[in-house]
């Protein structure tokens, strides 16, 4: 197991047992590569983000070059290498949402939380990100908090969204 790891072994164990359901020693390169996306997805679900040490762990377990894993992690905006807040706030900046004022909403959120896009508040409560089209263009502009979707969002709705978080409605 990783020597200088910051995570408890239970999390690594559960990632490892997930990996063992997908690949074994006899798996082909193609099989191992095909398992990379689900494994990264699972890892982010378990750890919340994908820092260096977790990518190295996966590289070793799947016997895939770290460079390849890093390439995939940086390609998909879903994956993140930074820790996320308890409330992950994502503003859609796809074409429809952008035209309908996503930028203003983003700005307001950034002001209220005192962080920029891609950052997380002290104490890891809120993190703020943008997403490409989430496929709900009819509701543009769209903001997601964890799995909950807010549609037709205006600047003025921002305080209410944050209040929902405080009241635990978004957990």
């Amino acid at each position: 197991m990783c020597n200088n790891c910051n995570f408890n072994n239970l999390k690594y164990d559960s990632l490892e047992s997930y990996i063992s359901t997908l690949v074994s020693n006899s798996s082909s390169t193609t099989e191992r590569q095909a398992s990379l996306l689900p494994v990264l997805y699972k890892a982010q679900e378990i750890f919340g983000f994908l820092p260096e040490e977790i990518q190295e762990f996966i590289a070793a377990k799947l016997n895939i070059h770290l460079s390849e894993i890093y390439g995939v992690v940086t390609f998909y905006s879903y994956f993140t290498m930074k820790p996320q807040g308890k409330y992950r706030i994502s503003v859609c900046t796809g074409t429809a949402c952008y035209i309908k004022g996503a930028e203003k909403v983003l700005k307001r959120l950034s002001n209220e939380l005192g962080i920029d896009e891609g950052e997380v508040t002290k104490g890891l409560t809120y993190s703020l990100d943008t997403l490409r089209c989430v496929g709900a263009c009819g509701l543009a502009p769209v903001v997601m908090v964890n799995d909950k979707v807010y549609g037709n969002v205006t600047e003025d709705m921002v305080p209410r969204i944050l209040k929902d978080c405080k009241e635990g409605k978004n957990e």
């Binding site: 990518q55 070059h65 770290l66 460079s67 390849e68």
Partner: protein
């Protein structure tokens, strides 16, 4: 294989099925420009991402298509120079250039850059598009490879070399859209990765994004320092490549001109790395025979390629005991200069500077390794590539084609044919077999030619009977091929006695520091043949017959494998991080 008839610009062409339009057009003398595409046929590398679109042609009834990625079909009619096709290529090039620093005048790659030649070929006089410019930090962290990703055009040839051919796996496409760039894992400086510094990425990069780190300024400085005695050694593969930079035919043997050129640059002594190679053969043969006779670990793997050494240190740390402990010819040579030779000529080794001319970028890294020092002195002070030597000649107004042919200085300029073929894949092994056969059979060899181990193939093998023992030998070049062999050894599925491994496809003649071949592997073939021509013409073709080597053992080292030899000529390997 059946053939297909097509028409290109109304000219009928008949080609094999599966041929691309690009290749079919070449047959009738039409050279369609390309940029991202790279086909190293001899090494089975076909890199066709079809991403740059500069090779577009017009297909009758269909419009524009990429000629590098489209195969011919019966009755196809293609036009390579319609206004539509020409305009499309031009627009594509303008878009690429709109995000390219146009500092050709001071770019390392100027004169060798495929993007620059493309601009020339299309006679582009203006770039109409203005947009955002990519900015990426420079990476000069290593001794060997310089990275300036703002010059990257995302052809991804380097990834194919690093990941598919070499299987080292340092480079990957990262990010997306405009921000996409080829990067190391976690954006680490190359120095902190498992990069082997083979330089194959730089050898195929069409632009100045990946280049060698240059040490010419250091060499100029010591050449002009009156208090320094500057000794140069030239690697085998450089003599059959340097001529290309001065318009000589590939495969020209330019040893004599290179030597006189080096004298004119001001080197005090011009010596030959092939002397170091002969010495390596002596030590390695001794080690091989010892292992063979005393039940030591077999196969023994050669260790003259620093890139290969770094590869196994990272990726096969469990096998550190199989490679030979011999240093490379470059390092053995440096060690002998700073001990034996310094004493012989009565100069304090601290005042001697050893410069090496190498076909390789990893040799720079090798020279800087901590293991390769004697009393806090580097055995080799500066290693420069064949290309850098060519640049130095140019700068000093030396035209190689007009120089007289001179000879190496003595004694460290004496070598045998065996020492010279080190530069081609299979050469080290052939040299070692020649020597082993003489020692074990205790009589001069009748036939010193081992043809089956020569050539550019990624894997070759042979079996020879020496003194009643059947010796099974394997040769691989290209780290991907080496990996396959190592995996077999790890699983105990290989029954070789001796294996030669070179990191670069074709061996050192195809090194990352050689004049650019721009995808034409025939050039490598010719360089290799030239080395074997030198060998064939040599009076002495077995390393143990080198008189200067004999004298070195008599006067200084005692015997191959002696404790003195071990102290100076052998090294240790260390386990390195997996990534």
């Amino acid at each position: 294989m059946y053939t297909i008839k097509i028409k290109i610009n109304d000219i009928p062409v008949e080609v094999e099925a599966g041929t691309t339009i690009l290749r079919a057009a070449e047959k009738i003398g039409i050279k369609i420009p390309t940029l991202c595409h790279l086909n190293l046929h001899d090494f089975k590398v076909d890199h066709t991402p079809a991403s740059c679109r500069v090779c577009q042609v017009e297909l009758k009834g269909k419009g524009l298509i990429t000629s590098c990625a489209t195969s011919v079909y019966e009755g196809m009619e293609v036009f390579t120079n319609t206004q539509k096709a020409l305009r499309a290529r031009r627009v594509v090039l303008e878009m690429i250039l709109s995000d390219h620093p146009k500092d050709c005048l001071v770019c390392d790659k100027s004169g060798n850059c495929e993007l620059q030649s493309l601009g020339e070929q299309l006679h582009l006089r203006n770039v109409r598009f203005k947009g955002r410019m990519s900015k990426h930090p420079l990476d000069f962290s290593s001794q060997s490879i310089a990275r300036d990703m703002s010059k990257c055009i995302m052809c991804r040839r380097c990834e194919t070399m690093c990941n598919t051919v070499q299987t080292v796996g340092v480079l990957s496409n990262t990010g997306r859209g405009f921000d996409a760039v080829v990067d190391t894992p976690m954006h680490r400086p190359l120095q902190d990765t498992k990069c082997t510094f083979c330089g194959q990425c730089a050898a195929v990069c069409p632009t100045g994004a990946l280049m060698g780190i240059e040490h010419m300024a250091d060499v100029w400085r010591v050449l002009n320092d009156k208090n320094k005695f500057v000794v140069v050694q030239t690697a085998p593969a450089t003599r059959v490549a340097i001529g290309e930079m001065f318009g000589m035919e590939p495969g020209t043997i330019a040893t004599g001109q290179m030597i006189s050129g080096l004298r004119r640059l001001g080197f005090d002594r011009v010596f030959d790395t092939s002397f170091g190679a002969d010495l390596t053969v002596m030590e390695e043969t001794k080690e091989f025979i010892d292992r063979l006779n005393n039940g030591g670990r077999l196969p023994i793997l050669t260790s003259c390629c620093p890139s290969w050494v770094k590869f196994f240190e990272h990726q096969f740390p469990d096998l550190l005991d199989i490679p030979s402990s011999c240093k490379s010819p470059q390092q053995m040579f440096g060690a002998i200069v700073k001990t034996f030779y310094a004493k012989k000529i009565g100069i304090n080794p601290k005042d001697i500077v050893v410069v090496s001319i190498m076909p390789c970028l990893a040799k720079k890294y090798e020279a800087a390794r901590d293991e390769h020092q004697i009393e806090n002195m580097h055995e080799v002070d500066y290693s420069i590539s064949t290309r850098e030597l060519g640049f130095m000649f140019e700068e000093a107004c030396i035209d190689l084609t007009h120089l007289p042919k001179e000879k190496y200085d003595n004694p460290l300029g004496e070598s045998t044919g065996a020492g010279v073929i080190f530069g081609s894949s299979g050469g080290v092994l052939e040299a070692t077999l020649r020597n082993a056969a003489e020692i074990l059979d205790k009589k001069p060899l009748q036939n010193v030619d081992f043809h089956e181990v020569r050539g550019l193939d990624g894997f070759k093998e042979t079996e020879v009977e020496i003194n009643g023992i059947k010796i099974k030998a394997g040769i691989s070049c290209g780290l991907g091929n080496a990996r396959k062999l190592l995996e077999k050894i790890r699983k105990k599925e290989a029954d070789y006695h001796i294996i030669e491994i070179m990191a670069c496809p074709g061996g050192c003649i195809g090194g990352g520091g050689q004049p650019f071949h721009h995808g034409n592997t025939e050039i490598l073939q010719k360089r290799s043949e030239a080395l074997y021509r030198i060998d064939k013409k040599s009076k002495k073709r077995v390393s143990s017959n080198n008189e200067a080597i004999k004298a070195l053992y008599d006067e200084f080292l005692d015997n191959p494998g002696s404790s003195k030899a071990h102290q100076l000529l052998h090294t240790i390997y260390r386990k390195r991080n997996k990534e």
